[in-house]
Symmetry: C2
Subunit: 326 residues, 2 copies
Protein backbone atom coordinates (compact mmCIF):
# COMPACT_ATOMS: atom_id res chain seq x y z
CA UNK A 1 0.00 0.00 0.00
CA UNK A 2 1.23 3.46 -0.94
CA UNK A 3 0.63 5.77 2.00
CA UNK A 4 -0.52 9.25 0.95
CA UNK A 5 -0.62 12.46 2.99
CA UNK A 6 -2.51 15.62 2.03
CA UNK A 7 -1.15 19.12 2.63
CA UNK A 8 -4.25 21.29 2.75
CA UNK A 9 -7.90 20.21 2.66
CA UNK A 10 -9.95 22.29 0.21
CA UNK A 11 -11.85 21.18 -2.90
CA UNK A 12 -8.79 19.68 -4.58
CA UNK A 13 -7.78 17.70 -1.48
CA UNK A 14 -11.32 16.39 -1.06
CA UNK A 15 -11.06 15.15 -4.63
CA UNK A 16 -7.77 13.42 -3.80
CA UNK A 17 -9.38 11.88 -0.72
CA UNK A 18 -12.13 10.40 -2.95
CA UNK A 19 -9.72 9.36 -5.73
CA UNK A 20 -7.52 7.39 -3.33
CA UNK A 21 -10.58 5.25 -2.52
CA UNK A 22 -10.72 4.28 -6.20
CA UNK A 23 -7.10 3.06 -6.16
CA UNK A 24 -6.78 -0.22 -4.23
CA UNK A 25 -2.99 0.03 -3.93
CA UNK A 26 -3.16 3.38 -2.09
CA UNK A 27 -4.40 4.63 1.26
CA UNK A 28 -4.93 8.08 2.72
CA UNK A 29 -2.85 8.22 5.89
CA UNK A 30 -3.28 11.74 7.27
CA UNK A 31 -4.01 15.38 6.50
CA UNK A 32 -1.99 18.49 7.38
CA UNK A 33 -3.77 21.82 7.70
CA UNK A 34 -2.96 25.42 8.60
CA UNK A 35 -6.44 25.73 10.07
CA UNK A 36 -7.33 24.35 13.49
CA UNK A 37 -7.08 20.56 12.90
CA UNK A 38 -10.33 19.90 14.80
CA UNK A 39 -12.19 22.18 12.35
CA UNK A 40 -11.41 19.85 9.41
CA UNK A 41 -13.80 16.95 8.71
CA UNK A 42 -12.23 14.69 6.11
CA UNK A 43 -14.37 12.42 3.92
CA UNK A 44 -12.16 9.47 4.93
CA UNK A 45 -11.64 9.22 8.69
CA UNK A 46 -7.90 9.86 9.06
CA UNK A 47 -5.93 11.96 11.55
CA UNK A 48 -5.72 15.68 10.86
CA UNK A 49 -2.52 17.37 12.07
CA UNK A 50 -1.30 20.91 12.18
CA UNK A 51 0.85 21.83 9.19
CA UNK A 52 3.49 22.88 11.74
CA UNK A 53 3.93 19.23 12.75
CA UNK A 54 4.35 17.80 9.25
CA UNK A 55 8.02 16.85 9.65
CA UNK A 56 7.36 14.72 12.70
CA UNK A 57 5.14 12.48 10.53
CA UNK A 58 7.60 12.19 7.70
CA UNK A 59 8.23 8.45 8.09
CA UNK A 60 4.52 7.61 8.04
CA UNK A 61 3.80 8.57 4.44
CA UNK A 62 5.21 7.71 1.02
CA UNK A 63 3.89 10.68 -0.97
CA UNK A 64 2.62 14.09 0.07
CA UNK A 65 0.06 15.68 -2.25
CA UNK A 66 0.24 19.47 -2.05
CA UNK A 67 -3.29 20.88 -2.28
CA UNK A 68 -2.73 24.62 -1.85
CA UNK A 69 -3.16 27.36 -4.42
CA UNK A 70 -0.65 28.38 -7.06
CA UNK A 71 -0.69 32.09 -6.21
CA UNK A 72 0.94 32.04 -2.78
CA UNK A 73 0.79 28.51 -1.24
CA UNK A 74 2.64 26.20 -3.61
CA UNK A 75 5.64 28.47 -4.39
CA UNK A 76 6.48 28.31 -0.65
CA UNK A 77 5.09 24.94 0.39
CA UNK A 78 6.27 22.59 -2.35
CA UNK A 79 9.98 23.49 -2.08
CA UNK A 80 9.69 23.38 1.73
CA UNK A 81 8.35 19.82 1.65
CA UNK A 82 10.34 18.49 -1.34
CA UNK A 83 13.43 17.75 0.76
CA UNK A 84 11.52 15.50 3.15
CA UNK A 85 8.76 13.91 1.08
CA UNK A 86 8.02 12.69 -2.41
CA UNK A 87 5.60 15.45 -3.42
CA UNK A 88 3.07 16.15 -6.18
CA UNK A 89 1.62 19.56 -6.94
CA UNK A 90 -0.65 21.20 -9.50
CA UNK A 91 1.26 24.49 -9.80
CA UNK A 92 -0.28 26.29 -12.76
CA UNK A 93 1.13 29.84 -12.88
CA UNK A 94 2.68 29.26 -16.24
CA UNK A 95 5.33 31.94 -16.40
CA UNK A 96 6.72 30.97 -12.98
CA UNK A 97 7.08 27.24 -13.66
CA UNK A 98 10.83 27.40 -14.49
CA UNK A 99 11.57 29.16 -11.18
CA UNK A 100 9.31 26.80 -9.25
CA UNK A 101 10.97 23.83 -10.95
CA UNK A 102 14.46 25.03 -9.96
CA UNK A 103 13.43 25.67 -6.34
CA UNK A 104 11.80 22.26 -5.99
CA UNK A 105 14.57 20.42 -7.84
CA UNK A 106 17.29 21.67 -5.49
CA UNK A 107 15.38 20.52 -2.41
CA UNK A 108 14.29 17.16 -3.86
CA UNK A 109 17.85 16.32 -4.89
CA UNK A 110 19.15 17.32 -1.46
CA UNK A 111 16.67 14.96 0.22
CA UNK A 112 16.89 12.18 -2.42
CA UNK A 113 13.16 12.48 -3.06
CA UNK A 114 11.04 12.76 -6.22
CA UNK A 115 8.81 15.79 -6.84
CA UNK A 116 6.41 16.04 -9.77
CA UNK A 117 5.10 19.57 -10.34
CA UNK A 118 2.35 21.09 -12.51
CA UNK A 119 0.27 17.91 -12.59
CA UNK A 120 -3.42 18.04 -13.56
CA UNK A 121 -5.10 18.60 -16.89
CA UNK A 122 -3.72 21.98 -17.97
CA UNK A 123 -0.86 21.93 -17.18
CA UNK A 124 -0.84 18.14 -17.24
CA UNK A 125 -2.77 15.98 -19.67
CA UNK A 126 -3.16 18.89 -22.12
CA UNK A 127 0.61 19.49 -21.96
CA UNK A 128 1.31 15.82 -22.71
CA UNK A 129 -0.99 15.95 -25.71
CA UNK A 130 0.66 19.12 -26.98
CA UNK A 131 4.06 17.42 -26.68
CA UNK A 132 3.11 14.10 -28.30
CA UNK A 133 1.35 15.89 -31.17
CA UNK A 134 4.30 18.27 -31.68
CA UNK A 135 6.72 15.32 -31.89
CA UNK A 136 4.56 13.50 -34.47
CA UNK A 137 3.29 16.30 -36.74
CA UNK A 138 6.32 18.52 -37.24
CA UNK A 139 4.87 20.87 -39.84
CA UNK A 140 1.74 21.97 -38.07
CA UNK A 141 0.06 24.19 -35.52
CA UNK A 142 -1.57 23.47 -32.22
CA UNK A 143 -4.51 25.06 -30.49
CA UNK A 144 -5.84 24.82 -26.95
CA UNK A 145 -9.45 25.74 -26.20
CA UNK A 146 -10.89 25.78 -22.69
CA UNK A 147 -14.45 25.09 -21.61
CA UNK A 148 -17.27 25.00 -21.42
CA UNK A 149 -16.37 25.48 -17.79
CA UNK A 150 -16.26 27.61 -14.71
CA UNK A 151 -13.34 29.99 -14.33
CA UNK A 152 -12.83 30.61 -10.60
CA UNK A 153 -10.61 33.63 -11.26
CA UNK A 154 -13.20 35.34 -13.45
CA UNK A 155 -16.04 34.47 -11.07
CA UNK A 156 -14.04 35.99 -8.21
CA UNK A 157 -13.35 39.13 -10.24
CA UNK A 158 -17.10 39.68 -10.75
CA UNK A 159 -17.78 39.11 -7.03
CA UNK A 160 -15.45 41.99 -6.18
CA UNK A 161 -17.69 44.49 -8.04
CA UNK A 162 -19.80 46.70 -5.79
CA UNK A 163 -23.38 45.48 -5.54
CA UNK A 164 -22.61 41.89 -6.57
CA UNK A 165 -23.66 39.17 -4.10
CA UNK A 166 -22.38 36.14 -6.00
CA UNK A 167 -21.42 35.13 -9.55
CA UNK A 168 -20.37 32.27 -11.80
CA UNK A 169 -18.47 32.79 -15.05
CA UNK A 170 -18.30 30.21 -17.84
CA UNK A 171 -15.57 30.17 -20.47
CA UNK A 172 -16.95 28.83 -23.75
CA UNK A 173 -14.97 27.86 -26.86
CA UNK A 174 -16.35 29.26 -30.12
CA UNK A 175 -17.69 26.42 -32.30
CA UNK A 176 -16.69 28.10 -35.57
CA UNK A 177 -13.11 28.43 -34.32
CA UNK A 178 -12.98 24.74 -33.37
CA UNK A 179 -14.31 23.75 -36.80
CA UNK A 180 -11.83 25.99 -38.55
CA UNK A 181 -8.94 24.37 -36.65
CA UNK A 182 -10.22 20.85 -37.39
CA UNK A 183 -10.34 21.68 -41.11
CA UNK A 184 -6.54 21.91 -41.11
CA UNK A 185 -6.61 25.58 -42.13
CA UNK A 186 -4.17 26.58 -39.32
CA UNK A 187 -5.99 29.86 -38.69
CA UNK A 188 -4.67 32.77 -36.62
CA UNK A 189 -7.20 33.87 -34.02
CA UNK A 190 -7.66 36.97 -31.93
CA UNK A 191 -8.55 36.32 -28.29
CA UNK A 192 -12.16 37.27 -29.08
CA UNK A 193 -12.46 34.69 -31.85
CA UNK A 194 -11.52 31.68 -29.71
CA UNK A 195 -13.66 31.98 -26.57
CA UNK A 196 -16.74 33.78 -25.28
CA UNK A 197 -17.57 34.46 -21.62
CA UNK A 198 -20.97 34.01 -20.01
CA UNK A 199 -21.69 35.40 -16.54
CA UNK A 200 -24.50 34.59 -14.11
CA UNK A 201 -24.67 37.35 -11.54
CA UNK A 202 -26.68 37.85 -8.35
CA UNK A 203 -26.94 41.49 -7.25
CA UNK A 204 -28.10 43.32 -4.13
CA UNK A 205 -31.65 44.63 -4.17
CA UNK A 206 -31.81 47.95 -5.96
CA UNK A 207 -28.30 47.60 -7.41
CA UNK A 208 -27.55 49.41 -10.68
CA UNK A 209 -27.49 46.49 -13.14
CA UNK A 210 -26.45 48.63 -16.10
CA UNK A 211 -23.39 49.90 -14.21
CA UNK A 212 -22.47 46.38 -13.03
CA UNK A 213 -22.82 44.92 -16.53
CA UNK A 214 -20.61 47.66 -17.93
CA UNK A 215 -17.99 47.11 -15.23
CA UNK A 216 -17.92 43.41 -16.09
CA UNK A 217 -17.69 43.60 -19.87
CA UNK A 218 -15.04 46.34 -19.83
CA UNK A 219 -12.87 44.80 -17.06
CA UNK A 220 -9.23 44.89 -18.20
CA UNK A 221 -7.41 41.52 -18.61
CA UNK A 222 -10.52 39.60 -17.58
CA UNK A 223 -13.31 40.54 -20.00
CA UNK A 224 -12.41 43.47 -22.27
CA UNK A 225 -10.93 41.27 -25.02
CA UNK A 226 -13.92 38.90 -25.10
CA UNK A 227 -17.54 38.92 -26.16
CA UNK A 228 -19.20 38.68 -22.76
CA UNK A 229 -22.83 37.98 -21.93
CA UNK A 230 -24.21 38.92 -18.50
CA UNK A 231 -27.34 37.33 -17.02
CA UNK A 232 -28.78 38.67 -13.78
CA UNK A 233 -30.41 35.84 -11.81
CA UNK A 234 -31.65 35.19 -8.28
CA UNK A 235 -29.54 33.57 -5.58
CA UNK A 236 -31.88 30.57 -5.68
CA UNK A 237 -31.30 30.15 -9.42
CA UNK A 238 -27.54 30.45 -8.97
CA UNK A 239 -27.55 27.75 -6.31
CA UNK A 240 -29.90 25.48 -8.24
CA UNK A 241 -28.39 25.75 -11.72
CA UNK A 242 -24.77 26.81 -11.22
CA UNK A 243 -23.42 25.05 -8.14
CA UNK A 244 -21.16 22.63 -10.04
CA UNK A 245 -17.54 23.16 -11.07
CA UNK A 246 -17.54 21.69 -14.58
CA UNK A 247 -14.72 22.31 -17.01
CA UNK A 248 -12.92 20.82 -19.97
CA UNK A 249 -11.43 21.79 -23.27
CA UNK A 250 -9.67 20.75 -26.44
CA UNK A 251 -6.09 20.34 -27.60
CA UNK A 252 -5.93 20.07 -31.38
CA UNK A 253 -2.91 19.85 -33.64
CA UNK A 254 -3.13 19.72 -37.39
CA UNK A 255 -0.14 19.11 -39.59
CA UNK A 256 1.01 17.90 -42.97
CA UNK A 257 3.15 14.99 -44.11
CA UNK A 258 4.33 13.50 -47.37
CA UNK A 259 6.80 14.23 -50.12
CA UNK A 260 5.09 17.54 -50.94
CA UNK A 261 3.30 17.90 -47.58
CA UNK A 262 0.16 16.88 -49.46
CA UNK A 263 -1.54 14.96 -46.63
CA UNK A 264 -3.28 16.59 -43.69
CA UNK A 265 -3.80 15.07 -40.25
CA UNK A 266 -5.83 16.09 -37.19
CA UNK A 267 -4.98 14.99 -33.65
CA UNK A 268 -7.61 16.00 -31.11
CA UNK A 269 -7.74 15.45 -27.35
CA UNK A 270 -10.70 16.66 -25.35
CA UNK A 271 -12.02 16.58 -21.80
CA UNK A 272 -15.57 17.09 -20.58
CA UNK A 273 -15.50 17.18 -16.80
CA UNK A 274 -18.37 17.40 -14.32
CA UNK A 275 -15.90 18.35 -11.59
CA UNK A 276 -12.68 20.17 -12.35
CA UNK A 277 -11.11 19.58 -8.90
CA UNK A 278 -12.04 15.89 -8.78
CA UNK A 279 -10.58 15.21 -12.21
CA UNK A 280 -7.39 17.13 -11.37
CA UNK A 281 -7.22 15.13 -8.14
CA UNK A 282 -7.49 11.86 -10.08
CA UNK A 283 -4.51 12.87 -12.21
CA UNK A 284 -2.53 13.86 -9.07
CA UNK A 285 -3.15 10.44 -7.53
CA UNK A 286 -1.87 8.59 -10.62
CA UNK A 287 1.31 10.70 -10.56
CA UNK A 288 1.65 10.13 -6.81
CA UNK A 289 2.00 6.42 -7.62
CA UNK A 290 4.68 7.23 -10.21
CA UNK A 291 6.63 9.46 -7.80
CA UNK A 292 6.68 6.73 -5.17
CA UNK A 293 7.77 4.05 -7.64
CA UNK A 294 10.49 6.19 -9.20
CA UNK A 295 11.87 7.10 -5.78
CA UNK A 296 11.87 3.40 -4.81
CA UNK A 297 14.15 2.87 -7.80
CA UNK A 298 16.58 5.46 -6.49
CA UNK A 299 15.52 8.36 -8.69
CA UNK A 300 15.43 11.89 -7.20
CA UNK A 301 14.83 15.48 -8.27
CA UNK A 302 12.01 17.52 -9.77
CA UNK A 303 10.05 16.06 -12.69
CA UNK A 304 7.13 17.10 -14.87
CA UNK A 305 4.60 14.95 -16.71
CA UNK A 306 7.05 14.98 -19.64
CA UNK A 307 9.56 12.91 -17.65
CA UNK A 308 7.31 10.13 -16.42
CA UNK A 309 7.13 6.84 -18.36
CA UNK A 310 3.37 6.20 -18.71
CA UNK A 311 3.63 2.68 -17.23
CA UNK A 312 4.65 4.19 -13.87
CA UNK A 313 1.15 5.66 -13.51
CA UNK A 314 -0.57 2.29 -13.56
CA UNK A 315 -1.24 -0.14 -10.75
CA UNK A 316 -1.20 -2.93 -13.33
CA UNK A 317 1.86 -5.03 -14.21
CA UNK A 318 3.73 -4.51 -17.48
CA UNK A 319 2.40 -7.85 -18.76
CA UNK A 320 -1.14 -6.78 -18.00
CA UNK A 321 -0.96 -3.37 -19.67
CA UNK A 322 0.69 -4.92 -22.73
CA UNK A 323 -2.01 -7.57 -23.05
CA UNK A 324 -5.02 -5.36 -22.24
CA UNK A 325 -4.17 -1.81 -23.34
CA UNK A 326 -1.43 -1.94 -26.01
CA UNK B 1 22.46 14.03 -36.36
CA UNK B 2 20.70 10.74 -35.67
CA UNK B 3 21.46 8.38 -38.56
CA UNK B 4 18.47 6.25 -39.54
CA UNK B 5 18.36 3.11 -41.68
CA UNK B 6 15.23 1.57 -43.20
CA UNK B 7 14.65 -2.17 -43.42
CA UNK B 8 12.18 -2.55 -46.29
CA UNK B 9 10.87 0.14 -48.64
CA UNK B 10 7.09 -0.06 -49.04
CA UNK B 11 4.42 2.55 -48.19
CA UNK B 12 5.41 2.74 -44.52
CA UNK B 13 9.11 3.18 -45.30
CA UNK B 14 8.33 5.89 -47.86
CA UNK B 15 6.44 7.65 -45.08
CA UNK B 16 9.48 7.34 -42.79
CA UNK B 17 11.69 8.70 -45.58
CA UNK B 18 9.43 11.78 -45.81
CA UNK B 19 9.07 12.16 -42.03
CA UNK B 20 12.84 12.21 -41.49
CA UNK B 21 12.98 15.29 -43.74
CA UNK B 22 10.69 17.04 -41.24
CA UNK B 23 13.05 16.33 -38.33
CA UNK B 24 16.19 18.50 -38.57
CA UNK B 25 18.14 16.37 -36.05
CA UNK B 26 17.79 13.20 -38.14
CA UNK B 27 19.03 11.96 -41.49
CA UNK B 28 18.18 8.95 -43.62
CA UNK B 29 21.44 7.07 -44.17
CA UNK B 30 20.56 3.97 -46.20
CA UNK B 31 17.89 1.44 -47.10
CA UNK B 32 18.03 -2.37 -46.93
CA UNK B 33 15.79 -4.40 -49.22
CA UNK B 34 15.12 -8.02 -50.05
CA UNK B 35 14.36 -6.95 -53.61
CA UNK B 36 17.08 -6.19 -56.12
CA UNK B 37 18.59 -2.96 -54.67
CA UNK B 38 18.73 -1.30 -58.09
CA UNK B 39 14.95 -1.75 -58.43
CA UNK B 40 14.29 0.55 -55.43
CA UNK B 41 14.00 4.31 -56.07
CA UNK B 42 13.94 6.07 -52.71
CA UNK B 43 12.41 9.52 -52.32
CA UNK B 44 15.63 10.72 -50.66
CA UNK B 45 18.74 9.80 -52.63
CA UNK B 46 20.52 7.38 -50.29
CA UNK B 47 22.31 4.06 -50.94
CA UNK B 48 20.12 0.97 -51.22
CA UNK B 49 21.74 -2.27 -50.06
CA UNK B 50 20.70 -5.89 -50.06
CA UNK B 51 19.13 -6.98 -46.79
CA UNK B 52 21.75 -9.72 -46.73
CA UNK B 53 24.46 -7.10 -46.19
CA UNK B 54 22.79 -5.25 -43.32
CA UNK B 55 25.30 -6.31 -40.65
CA UNK B 56 28.23 -4.94 -42.60
CA UNK B 57 26.64 -1.46 -42.30
CA UNK B 58 25.91 -1.72 -38.62
CA UNK B 59 28.29 1.03 -37.54
CA UNK B 60 26.87 3.54 -40.02
CA UNK B 61 23.43 3.93 -38.46
CA UNK B 62 22.03 4.77 -35.02
CA UNK B 63 18.51 3.38 -35.41
CA UNK B 64 17.02 0.87 -37.83
CA UNK B 65 13.32 1.31 -38.59
CA UNK B 66 11.73 -2.04 -39.48
CA UNK B 67 9.19 -1.47 -42.26
CA UNK B 68 7.99 -5.01 -43.01
CA UNK B 69 4.56 -6.48 -42.34
CA UNK B 70 3.35 -7.92 -39.04
CA UNK B 71 2.17 -11.23 -40.51
CA UNK B 72 5.48 -12.77 -41.50
CA UNK B 73 8.24 -10.10 -41.75
CA UNK B 74 8.51 -8.47 -38.33
CA UNK B 75 8.31 -11.64 -36.17
CA UNK B 76 11.52 -12.79 -37.92
CA UNK B 77 13.22 -9.53 -38.79
CA UNK B 78 12.91 -7.47 -35.62
CA UNK B 79 14.48 -10.08 -33.30
CA UNK B 80 17.17 -10.76 -35.91
CA UNK B 81 18.17 -7.08 -36.00
CA UNK B 82 17.58 -6.21 -32.32
CA UNK B 83 20.97 -7.56 -31.22
CA UNK B 84 22.89 -5.32 -33.61
CA UNK B 85 20.81 -2.15 -33.91
CA UNK B 86 18.49 0.05 -31.95
CA UNK B 87 15.26 -0.87 -33.73
CA UNK B 88 11.67 0.40 -33.99
CA UNK B 89 8.79 -1.61 -35.38
CA UNK B 90 5.01 -1.29 -35.79
CA UNK B 91 4.15 -4.92 -34.97
CA UNK B 92 0.34 -4.99 -34.63
CA UNK B 93 -0.78 -8.62 -34.38
CA UNK B 94 -2.19 -8.09 -30.94
CA UNK B 95 -2.32 -11.59 -29.55
CA UNK B 96 1.32 -12.26 -30.49
CA UNK B 97 2.79 -9.12 -28.90
CA UNK B 98 3.93 -10.86 -25.66
CA UNK B 99 5.86 -13.48 -27.65
CA UNK B 100 7.32 -10.87 -29.98
CA UNK B 101 8.30 -8.75 -26.96
CA UNK B 102 10.13 -11.67 -25.35
CA UNK B 103 11.98 -12.57 -28.56
CA UNK B 104 13.08 -8.99 -29.17
CA UNK B 105 13.96 -8.34 -25.52
CA UNK B 106 16.38 -11.27 -25.33
CA UNK B 107 18.26 -10.09 -28.42
CA UNK B 108 18.29 -6.39 -27.49
CA UNK B 109 19.67 -7.16 -24.04
CA UNK B 110 22.32 -9.44 -25.53
CA UNK B 111 23.48 -6.66 -27.83
CA UNK B 112 22.99 -3.78 -25.34
CA UNK B 113 20.58 -2.09 -27.72
CA UNK B 114 17.11 -0.55 -27.33
CA UNK B 115 14.14 -1.89 -29.29
CA UNK B 116 10.71 -0.26 -29.23
CA UNK B 117 7.96 -2.48 -30.66
CA UNK B 118 4.32 -1.92 -31.65
CA UNK B 119 4.78 1.78 -32.37
CA UNK B 120 2.22 3.66 -34.46
CA UNK B 121 -1.30 4.80 -33.69
CA UNK B 122 -3.05 1.53 -32.80
CA UNK B 123 -1.07 0.02 -31.21
CA UNK B 124 0.74 3.21 -30.27
CA UNK B 125 -0.94 6.54 -29.59
CA UNK B 126 -4.32 4.88 -28.99
CA UNK B 127 -2.67 2.51 -26.49
CA UNK B 128 -1.12 5.44 -24.63
CA UNK B 129 -4.47 7.16 -24.42
CA UNK B 130 -6.15 3.99 -23.15
CA UNK B 131 -3.45 3.72 -20.47
CA UNK B 132 -3.50 7.36 -19.33
CA UNK B 133 -7.31 7.38 -19.19
CA UNK B 134 -7.40 4.07 -17.29
CA UNK B 135 -4.96 5.45 -14.69
CA UNK B 136 -7.03 8.62 -14.18
CA UNK B 137 -10.64 7.41 -14.33
CA UNK B 138 -10.60 4.19 -12.32
CA UNK B 139 -14.35 3.52 -12.27
CA UNK B 140 -15.10 3.70 -15.95
CA UNK B 141 -15.12 2.03 -19.33
CA UNK B 142 -13.13 2.63 -22.48
CA UNK B 143 -14.05 2.29 -26.10
CA UNK B 144 -12.01 2.29 -29.29
CA UNK B 145 -13.64 3.08 -32.63
CA UNK B 146 -11.79 2.91 -35.93
CA UNK B 147 -12.42 4.94 -39.05
CA UNK B 148 -13.54 6.36 -41.20
CA UNK B 149 -10.69 4.63 -42.98
CA UNK B 150 -9.45 2.05 -45.42
CA UNK B 151 -8.92 -1.47 -44.10
CA UNK B 152 -6.28 -3.13 -46.29
CA UNK B 153 -7.15 -6.59 -44.95
CA UNK B 154 -10.83 -6.22 -45.83
CA UNK B 155 -10.03 -4.68 -49.22
CA UNK B 156 -7.73 -7.63 -49.95
CA UNK B 157 -10.41 -10.11 -48.90
CA UNK B 158 -12.85 -8.63 -51.43
CA UNK B 159 -10.19 -8.70 -54.17
CA UNK B 160 -9.84 -12.46 -53.72
CA UNK B 161 -13.50 -13.03 -54.75
CA UNK B 162 -13.94 -14.42 -58.28
CA UNK B 163 -14.92 -11.73 -60.76
CA UNK B 164 -13.53 -8.83 -58.68
CA UNK B 165 -10.94 -6.63 -60.37
CA UNK B 166 -10.22 -4.25 -57.50
CA UNK B 167 -11.85 -3.00 -54.29
CA UNK B 168 -11.59 -0.56 -51.38
CA UNK B 169 -13.29 -1.15 -48.04
CA UNK B 170 -13.98 1.61 -45.51
CA UNK B 171 -14.56 0.93 -41.82
CA UNK B 172 -16.97 3.53 -40.41
CA UNK B 173 -17.82 4.13 -36.74
CA UNK B 174 -21.55 4.38 -36.00
CA UNK B 175 -22.42 7.93 -34.90
CA UNK B 176 -25.14 6.82 -32.48
CA UNK B 177 -22.66 4.51 -30.74
CA UNK B 178 -20.12 7.33 -30.38
CA UNK B 179 -22.79 9.63 -28.93
CA UNK B 180 -23.95 6.95 -26.53
CA UNK B 181 -20.40 6.49 -25.24
CA UNK B 182 -19.85 10.25 -24.87
CA UNK B 183 -23.02 10.49 -22.76
CA UNK B 184 -21.31 8.46 -20.05
CA UNK B 185 -23.84 5.64 -20.31
CA UNK B 186 -21.08 2.96 -20.56
CA UNK B 187 -23.07 0.91 -23.07
CA UNK B 188 -22.34 -2.67 -24.15
CA UNK B 189 -22.20 -2.99 -27.92
CA UNK B 190 -22.43 -5.86 -30.35
CA UNK B 191 -19.88 -5.74 -33.17
CA UNK B 192 -22.66 -4.61 -35.51
CA UNK B 193 -23.56 -1.64 -33.32
CA UNK B 194 -20.07 -0.07 -33.31
CA UNK B 195 -18.95 -0.04 -36.95
CA UNK B 196 -20.36 -0.35 -40.45
CA UNK B 197 -18.45 -1.40 -43.56
CA UNK B 198 -18.70 0.24 -46.98
CA UNK B 199 -17.20 -1.42 -50.05
CA UNK B 200 -16.39 0.05 -53.47
CA UNK B 201 -15.94 -2.82 -55.90
CA UNK B 202 -14.84 -3.03 -59.53
CA UNK B 203 -15.93 -6.25 -61.29
CA UNK B 204 -15.13 -7.95 -64.58
CA UNK B 205 -17.48 -7.31 -67.48
CA UNK B 206 -20.49 -9.57 -67.19
CA UNK B 207 -19.68 -10.65 -63.63
CA UNK B 208 -22.60 -11.76 -61.42
CA UNK B 209 -22.92 -8.76 -59.10
CA UNK B 210 -25.63 -10.35 -56.95
CA UNK B 211 -23.39 -13.34 -56.23
CA UNK B 212 -20.37 -11.11 -55.49
CA UNK B 213 -22.37 -8.87 -53.16
CA UNK B 214 -23.66 -11.93 -51.29
CA UNK B 215 -20.16 -13.37 -50.99
CA UNK B 216 -18.93 -10.09 -49.50
CA UNK B 217 -21.67 -9.45 -46.94
CA UNK B 218 -21.69 -13.05 -45.70
CA UNK B 219 -17.89 -13.48 -45.52
CA UNK B 220 -17.00 -15.04 -42.16
CA UNK B 221 -14.81 -12.98 -39.76
CA UNK B 222 -14.61 -10.12 -42.23
CA UNK B 223 -18.19 -8.96 -42.95
CA UNK B 224 -20.84 -11.32 -41.53
CA UNK B 225 -21.05 -9.54 -38.18
CA UNK B 226 -21.39 -6.06 -39.73
CA UNK B 227 -23.92 -4.06 -41.70
CA UNK B 228 -22.13 -3.88 -45.03
CA UNK B 229 -22.92 -1.72 -48.04
CA UNK B 230 -21.56 -2.67 -51.47
CA UNK B 231 -21.21 -0.17 -54.32
CA UNK B 232 -20.19 -1.38 -57.77
CA UNK B 233 -18.18 1.29 -59.55
CA UNK B 234 -15.90 1.59 -62.55
CA UNK B 235 -12.12 1.27 -62.35
CA UNK B 236 -11.89 4.94 -63.31
CA UNK B 237 -14.11 5.93 -60.38
CA UNK B 238 -12.11 3.76 -57.99
CA UNK B 239 -8.87 5.39 -59.07
CA UNK B 240 -10.32 8.90 -59.01
CA UNK B 241 -12.24 8.76 -55.73
CA UNK B 242 -10.64 6.01 -53.64
CA UNK B 243 -6.89 6.09 -54.22
CA UNK B 244 -6.00 7.48 -50.78
CA UNK B 245 -5.25 5.53 -47.60
CA UNK B 246 -7.11 7.63 -45.01
CA UNK B 247 -7.82 6.31 -41.53
CA UNK B 248 -8.41 7.42 -37.98
CA UNK B 249 -10.56 6.66 -35.01
CA UNK B 250 -11.53 7.47 -31.46
CA UNK B 251 -10.44 6.34 -27.99
CA UNK B 252 -13.00 7.41 -25.41
CA UNK B 253 -13.07 6.66 -21.69
CA UNK B 254 -15.87 7.78 -19.42
CA UNK B 255 -15.76 7.36 -15.68
CA UNK B 256 -17.08 8.62 -12.39
CA UNK B 257 -15.47 10.33 -9.41
CA UNK B 258 -16.59 11.79 -6.09
CA UNK B 259 -17.74 10.60 -2.70
CA UNK B 260 -20.76 8.84 -4.21
CA UNK B 261 -19.34 8.62 -7.76
CA UNK B 262 -21.74 11.43 -8.62
CA UNK B 263 -19.57 13.20 -11.20
CA UNK B 264 -19.05 11.96 -14.75
CA UNK B 265 -16.06 12.69 -16.97
CA UNK B 266 -15.29 12.09 -20.64
CA UNK B 267 -11.75 11.77 -22.04
CA UNK B 268 -11.65 11.60 -25.82
CA UNK B 269 -8.71 11.22 -28.19
CA UNK B 270 -9.26 11.15 -31.92
CA UNK B 271 -7.27 11.01 -35.12
CA UNK B 272 -8.32 12.00 -38.62
CA UNK B 273 -5.57 10.98 -41.02
CA UNK B 274 -5.25 11.59 -44.76
CA UNK B 275 -2.51 8.95 -44.93
CA UNK B 276 -2.41 6.04 -42.51
CA UNK B 277 1.15 4.97 -43.42
CA UNK B 278 2.58 8.51 -43.32
CA UNK B 279 1.11 9.20 -39.88
CA UNK B 280 2.34 5.83 -38.56
CA UNK B 281 5.75 6.67 -40.03
CA UNK B 282 5.77 10.02 -38.22
CA UNK B 283 5.17 8.24 -34.91
CA UNK B 284 7.94 5.72 -35.69
CA UNK B 285 10.43 8.53 -36.32
CA UNK B 286 9.66 10.21 -32.97
CA UNK B 287 10.23 6.89 -31.19
CA UNK B 288 13.42 6.30 -33.20
CA UNK B 289 14.77 9.45 -31.54
CA UNK B 290 13.79 8.10 -28.12
CA UNK B 291 15.43 4.71 -28.77
CA UNK B 292 18.68 6.36 -29.75
CA UNK B 293 18.69 8.70 -26.74
CA UNK B 294 17.84 5.95 -24.26
CA UNK B 295 20.57 3.71 -25.66
CA UNK B 296 23.05 6.61 -25.40
CA UNK B 297 22.23 6.66 -21.68
CA UNK B 298 23.13 2.99 -21.35
CA UNK B 299 19.59 1.57 -21.43
CA UNK B 300 18.96 -1.71 -23.27
CA UNK B 301 16.14 -4.20 -23.88
CA UNK B 302 12.71 -4.21 -25.48
CA UNK B 303 10.33 -1.35 -24.72
CA UNK B 304 6.82 -0.29 -25.70
CA UNK B 305 5.28 3.18 -25.85
CA UNK B 306 4.31 2.67 -22.19
CA UNK B 307 7.98 2.74 -21.15
CA UNK B 308 9.13 5.88 -22.92
CA UNK B 309 9.21 9.21 -21.04
CA UNK B 310 7.43 11.64 -23.41
CA UNK B 311 10.34 14.13 -23.32
CA UNK B 312 12.56 11.56 -25.09
CA UNK B 313 10.42 11.92 -28.22
CA UNK B 314 11.18 15.60 -28.65
CA UNK B 315 14.08 17.30 -30.37
CA UNK B 316 13.55 20.25 -28.03
CA UNK B 317 15.39 20.76 -24.73
CA UNK B 318 13.67 20.19 -21.39
CA UNK B 319 13.69 23.95 -20.76
CA UNK B 320 12.03 24.58 -24.09
CA UNK B 321 9.25 22.00 -23.70
CA UNK B 322 8.56 23.25 -20.17
CA UNK B 323 8.29 26.86 -21.30
CA UNK B 324 6.38 26.26 -24.54
CA UNK B 325 4.27 23.11 -24.06
CA UNK B 326 3.70 22.53 -20.32
Amino acid sequence: MIKVGLFGYGNLAKGVDCAIRQNPDMELKCIFTRRAPESVSPITAVPVYSADDVLSHKDEIDVLVMCGGSATDLPEQTPAMAEYFNVIDSFDTHKNIPTHFANVDAKAKKGNKVSIISVGWDPGMFSLNRLYADCILRDGADYTFWGKGVSQGHSDAIRRIEGVVDAKQYTIPVDEALESVRSGAQPNFTTRQKHTRECFVVVEEGADKARIEKEIVTMKNYFDEYDTTVHFISLEELRRDHSGIPHGGFVIRTGRTGKDLENNHVIEYSLKLDSNPEFTASVLVAYARAAYRMNQEGISGCKTVFDIPPAYLSDKSNQEIISTLL
